[in-house]
Subunit: 187 residues, 2 copies
Amino acid sequence: MSLPPINFCSQCGTSVEQKIPQGEDRLRAVCPSCHTIHYQNPKIVAGCIPEWEGQILLCRRAIEPRVGFWTFPAGFMEMGESTEEAAARETLEEAKAEVRITALYAVYSLQYVDQVYTIYRGELLQREFGAGEESLEVQLVSLDDIPWDHLAFPVIHEALTRYVSDRHQESFGVHFGSIAPMTPKPV
Amino acid sequence: MSLPPINFCSQCGTSVEQKIPQGEDRLRAVCPSCHTIHYQNPKIVAGCIPEWEGQILLCRRAIEPRVGFWTFPAGFMEMGESTEEAAARETLEEAKAEVRITALYAVYSLQYVDQVYTIYRGELLQREFGAGEESLEVQLVSLDDIPWDHLAFPVIHEALTRYVSDRHQESFGVHFGSIAPMTPKPV
């Protein structure tokens, strides 16, 4: 699920070489013709936990991976936007809901897929939502009703675990760390 | 300073077309031959404010842009690492200093260069540092001695302004928001 290797220069179309550029310490795809160095870097996924009167908005995924499992709105950040704008846009696209971003909630690194999640809390502007194209259904759920066994990804599980704990303590931290890949349950 | 446009498919070398893929809402570089969609996304810069007995470690840049101006260690996150690991690695590379990352400090979006800074606080493991290849010099400075008029970038100025304020209040928040480009000073 990480990025595919670079075979050709995206600038001039020449076959690239793998070499360590001067002053660097690792292999890069370098164009022998136009000398462009092609860097690959982790991607940002911006997410939002949309809140409404003690409940949160969750989406059941209509797309792979993990069709049918639950998540809060989250997706790849686009060029030209801020992480907050990306989190609000994803909420609009996936849950047809408008939010005002109120706080940074977590920054999680997922080294196994080269992604960094930046997760915000957002306040629903009104009690209006619906399933966007990437969702099968969207529901406001109480914290007691989070479908723990049917969450889409470990990062969603981790963020919501912290969120429920913070809400019980009535104090929201800002969380960070690394998330390990999902391990199959023992049978 | 943003990413250059994609002209050729990095997978198969064919000239790409600009089109809106099915189910999406914006133009992407798409390969008409192997059908790869080439996404471009903002990049993460991981930074660290290294601390030692009330002082912080700053580096004077040896590389463009902004040669000769001051910054805390920061650089592009590499594949396979966490943002914390990237922040510690940059500290080692630019300031030859070992840190233990202690807290997330800020997440700033710089839409004008399609970068997101994730900035951490780090504790120097010992009072040892020096100028790495990308630094002209490295100094431990007291908060009263921060070279405000000679900082490299607006994001460095913003983070250190918050940092000094937080230290005076003896309470560290986690900050987030967007950073505007530097505007020339009126003459």
